[in-house]
């Protein structure tokens, strides 16, 4: 692949979602893809802008889209599921509503012709597989049982996600290629409480507990996700969930890109697997070496 793919890490990938950032960059390097971070990108506004002011909720992603277009990027990867949803949602609305596009041009004083295509982490990884990553997966994970967790933002949104909203399957090809066994389970598209993590922690504990329990019932060794928000609810708060008298759970929650990174033989630390709250290094232990 010679054309560079734009990269929009989003705010949480510098903080809570660091391992997602690390693993994406490492994986891109192995696959030989030129990831170019959009210069001077800004926050997508997330749930906050969306909740309080819908102009702002469009204007913030608009600026980033305009920057990407200006910087000559035809495709932009937004690995954070929330950012992906905001950016792509905005792109779809702008394409459908010229009046809104005009208004945004006025507000931001930036032109945008609508040429940027936003990729989710799943689309990106499937793209890498198309481009030959499969051959480079030299360390399959020896039948690691995984529960692919799509949550809300990688499953729903008719014009945003290109997958079956109730029975999504976008991650399966990559997981199977990485040597995992995908377990059938019930909570692949249930909500974890998402953006209300800090302000309605109680709800998040309930919902995340149910997700973890169902994955355990399905005998999963790990939950695989593509969303830093889900990740922080399921991983970072797993101890809190236990402390609240639920569970107890001890289930690693890993990013799709980490799984692929491991299968590609990248050292777990480089992928950020040591940064998890629930020990995820045990997933790395399942790496096997395939004779070339």
């Amino acid at each position: 692949m010679t054309t560079p793919i734009g990269y929009y890490p989003g705010c949480s990938l510098h903080g809570t979602g660091r391992e997602l950032d690390q693993s994406i960059r490492a994986l891109a390097e192995v696959a030989g893809v030129d990831l170019r971070e959009i210069k001077d990108w800004n926050c997508c506004g997330a749930t906050a802008a969306h909740s309080l002011n819908h102009d702002l909720a469009v204007a913030l992603p608009y600026r980033t889209l305009a920057l990407a277009e200006d910087q000559g990027l035809a495709e932009v990867l937004a690995p954070c599921a929330a950012c992906f949803s905001r950016l792509k949602g905005t792109a779809v609305r702008l394409a459908r509503d010229p009046k809104l596009a005009q208004k945004m041009t006025e507000i931001t004083e930036r032109p945008y012709r609508g040429t940027v295509r936003i990729l989710s982490i799943i689309e990106f990884i499937n793209r890498l597989l198309d481009a030959g990553l499969e051959a480079k997966l030299t360390h399959p994970l020896g039948g690691l049982k995984v529960a692919p967790y799509y949550g809300c933002l990688l499953a729903r949104g008719e014009d945003i996600v290109d997958d079956d909203p109730e029975q999504p399957s976008g991650m399966e090809r990559a997981l199977v290629a990485a040597g995992c066994e995908v377990v059938p389970w019930n909570f692949a598209v249930e909500c974890c409480g998402g953006g209300l993590s800090m302000s309605k922690t109680e709800a998040v504990l309930d919902l995340s507990d149910a997700i973890l329990s169902d994955a355990e019932d399905a005998q999963a060794d790990a939950i695989v996700t593509g969303c830093p928000m889900c990740h922080s609810n399921l991983d970072m708060r797993q101890r809190t969930i236990n402390a609240a008298g639920r569970g107890p759970h001890d289930l690693p929650v890993v990013y799709l890109s980490e799984i692929l990174g491991l299968a590609a033989g990248i050292e777990p630390e480089r992928l950020g697997l040591d940064r998890h709250f629930v020990d995820a290094m045990r997933v790395a232990e399942r790496m096997t070496e395939r004779s070339a």
Binding site: D164, P165, E166, Q167, N186, D217, A218
Partner: protein
């Protein structure tokens, strides 16, 4: 030269009070071509009619205009009089001086002036009128009934009972349709097979009925009174003449694990099989797709055990062409496939079943001999959730309409379940209960009030299977304003009623129109509910819209009455108001063919004497044309015209208003 007679009727005082009839007659006398113009008190009376007849003979009239009441009132009267006097009835026209003039205006001079105008218009038209002859179409007094469910059986029996021949075509190996699969019927809970099977036998034994099971209609040509229908009889591999129905073959057949269509895949059948014990005809067929002999070339057990040598492995499909005068379509319905609902398990949860599957579970002749056992592990279901409107009233992913019968059969299911599992819990999720019908609402109330079914108003959002194998049903109780979660052993989805797959293909063959879902369209929603826009094709049962058994039977009998009416005369006489193509100027753009609401226009190939194709043009089938004239208005080159309302006639009318 035109010789037109004008007759102005006073209609007692009705016209005469506001229209100066004598003045109108006087004015009309001056119209070009008018040779006689008179007014009279009651034109429709015997002396009035006689005046017209006399004038036709004495004055050698070539056209008559009667200025009187609405033609909707007396046009047949005056046209008959003209006919009796030797004038082609279509050379008589009426001007509406009463309803459209004297009764709606008070000012005498103004009304008189208008009456003169109205007369002028009709005189100009009648001068252009052509002699038309009624169209006579011979009728083949045999009916074809497509579909051997309860509607088709009823229609066939009624037509046969009326003394006419019937050919009854059924796609599956046996008559009976869906009704044969039901356990009990609402609201009386009488046994479905007990009331159906005598009818099936009667149909099979009736001397006027020819049964063609395991057969499909593949082509329909012709028109009312004169259809030519091609029926493909699928190879049965069993000679029905020799077979005695002893059953030795299917008892010994080694291919035993084929999901039974009749049992909605809850039970199995063999490769040589009869769908169910009471099947009519009670003779097995071989399912070529699964037969080991027919697929792999070895086995032959059934042939060995057959005492009469009825097995024919070299049997072939056969095409038969039948001539019929009328067709009754009774192809019924199918259930919507709920695998479109991912949130209900996308069809992959074994214990989430549809209504037919529940019928088979509840049926004493079913795979569980009537015990409500869940498909996954055969355990008695201790708790069952019934969900209504599954796919119905769901414009997004299902169908927007109400499937009509689900409220009732769900109530029936809940009652049957509670009769069979006394300690079991029956929960029904519903949006509205639609129980209009004799004894219907009482039946639903009984389910709730005395049979212990729990009715919850709300839809279900999600069904999933727990680790212990039970199903979690997440619904809402909108009356209480809260979510509800029920743990169940089995969920029964009241899937929407949809037309049979292939309904639209058959409709296209028949030239019958259908709605966006594939239900066949009746000719008029109020007044012609069993006819189609295609003359000679009638509808019965759920192929037209979701219907329950009594409605299907009623419509079937109505269709039979229509057929018998049609067959009561050897020939069909039709008003000759039909379209005609000018084959010289037609360029075959097919606009008329596409626009015709009746599919009455066809391609016609014009060939030279050696049979070489010169050109193709449009051609109107007089038997099918209903005379609306829509084709005429879409023809850009003016190559079609409508008898009775020709371009020339209409132009003459417009010109008369200058």
């Amino acid at each position: 030269m035109a010789r037109v007679g004008v007759f102005i009727c006073h209609c007692g005082e009705n016209i005469g009070r506001t229209v100066d009839c004598a003045a109108v007659a006087k004015a009309a006398e001056a119209f070009p071509g008018v040779v006689k113009s008179v007014d009279y008190k009651y034109m429709c009376s015997d002396p009035g009619q006689q005046m017209i007849k006399d004038a036709i003979r004495d004055e050698r009239l070539t056209g008559v205009v009667v200025g009187a009441c609405s033609p909707r009132m007396h046009e047949p009267t005056f046209r008959r009089a003209a006919f009796e006097a030797g004038l082609n009835p279509y050379l008589l026209e009426m001007a509406n001086l009463r309803e459209h003039c004297s009764w709606v205006h008070e000012d005498r001079p103004v009304a008189t002036e208008k009456a003169i105008d109205l007369m002028r218009v009709m005189v100009e038209k009648v001068k252009k009128n052509a002699e038309l002859r009624p169209i006579r179409v011979p009728v083949e007094p045999t009916a074809l009934v497509i579909g051997g469910g309860i509607a088709g059986i009823q229609a066939a029996l009624d037509i046969a009972g009326g003394g006419k021949k019937v050919i009854l075509v059924e796609r599956s190996p046996s008559l009976g349709g869906h009704m044969a699969r039901l356990s009990e019927t609402f609201p009386t809970l009488d046994c479905s097979q007990c009331i159906l099977t005598p009818r099936m036998v009667e149909a099979a034994n009736h001397p006027n009925i020819t049964l063609m099971t395991y057969s499909e209609v593949t082509k329909v040509d012709g028109f009312i009174g004169n259809f030519e229908v091609t029926v493909r009889q699928k190879a049965r591999y069993v000679d029905p003449e020799k077979c005695t129905g002893c059953g030795a073959c299917f008892e010994k057949c080694p291919a035993k694990k084929i999901p039974s269509e009749f049992d909605a895949a809850l039970g199995n059948r063999t490769a040589i099989y009869r769908p169910f014990p009471q099947a009519v005809p009670n003779k097995p067929v071989i399912d070529a797709e699964h037969c080991i002999m027919l697929t792999k070339g070895k086995c032959g057990i059934c042939a060995k055990v057959c005492p009469t040598g009825a097995i024919k492995y070299d049997d072939k499909d056969r095409e038969v062409i039948v001539k019929v005068g009328a067709i009754v379509v009774a192809t019924g319905f199918e259930l919507w496939d709920h695998s479109a609902y991912g949130e209900y398990g996308a069809g992959r949860l074994e214990d989430v079943i549809n209504g037919f599957q529940f019928e088979r579970l509840a049926s004493a002749s079913g795979p569980t001999t009537g015990e409500i056992r869940r498909p996954s592990d055969g355990r008695i279901a201790e708790s069952v959730v019934f969900i209504q409107c599954c796919g119905s009233r769901d414009p997004k992913r299902g169908v927007p309409y109400c499937s009509k019968i689900c409220c009732m059969y769900t109530a029936k299911h809940a009652i049957l379940y509670r009769h069979k599992v006394h300690h079991g819990r029956a929960v029904v999720f519903y949006m509205d209960v639609r129980a209009g019908g004799k004894g219907y609402d009482e039946f639903v109330r009984r389910a709730i009030e005395t049979e212990g079914a729990e009715y919850i108003r709300g839809r279900v959002s999600r069904i999933y299977r727990r680790k212990d194998g039970r199903l979690v049903v997440k619904g809402a109780d909108t009356l209480a304003g809260r979510p509800v979660e029920i743990v169940a052993d089995m969920v029964v989805l009241a899937d929407a009623i949809v037309p049979q797959p292939g309904a639209s293909r058959l409709a296209q063959m028949l030239g019958v129109s259908y709605d966006e879902y594939g239900f066949y369209s009746e000719a008029h929603p109020k007044l012609r509910p069993v006819e189609t826009a295609k003359a000679g094709v009638f509808l019965a049962g759920a192929c037209q819209a979701p219907k329950d058994i009594p409605e299907s039977v009623a419509q079937a009998s109505a269709a039979a009455a229509k057929v018998l009416g049609l067959f009561s005369q050897p020939e069909l006489e039709r008003e000759p108001i039909v379209a005609k193509v000018n084959e010289v100027t037609c360029v075959h753009c097919r606009a008329c063919i596409q626009a015709c609401p009746y599919g009455a226009i066809e391609d016609k190939e014009i060939k030279d004497s050696k049979g070489n194709l010169i050109r193709t043009v449009a051609c109107v089938n007089e038997g099918e044309c209903q005379g609306c004239g829509t084709c005429v208005a879409v023809c850009r080159s003016g190559s079609i015209d409508l008898d009775g309302f020709t371009d020339e006639e209409v132009l003459a009318e417009i010109a008369a208003l200058e």
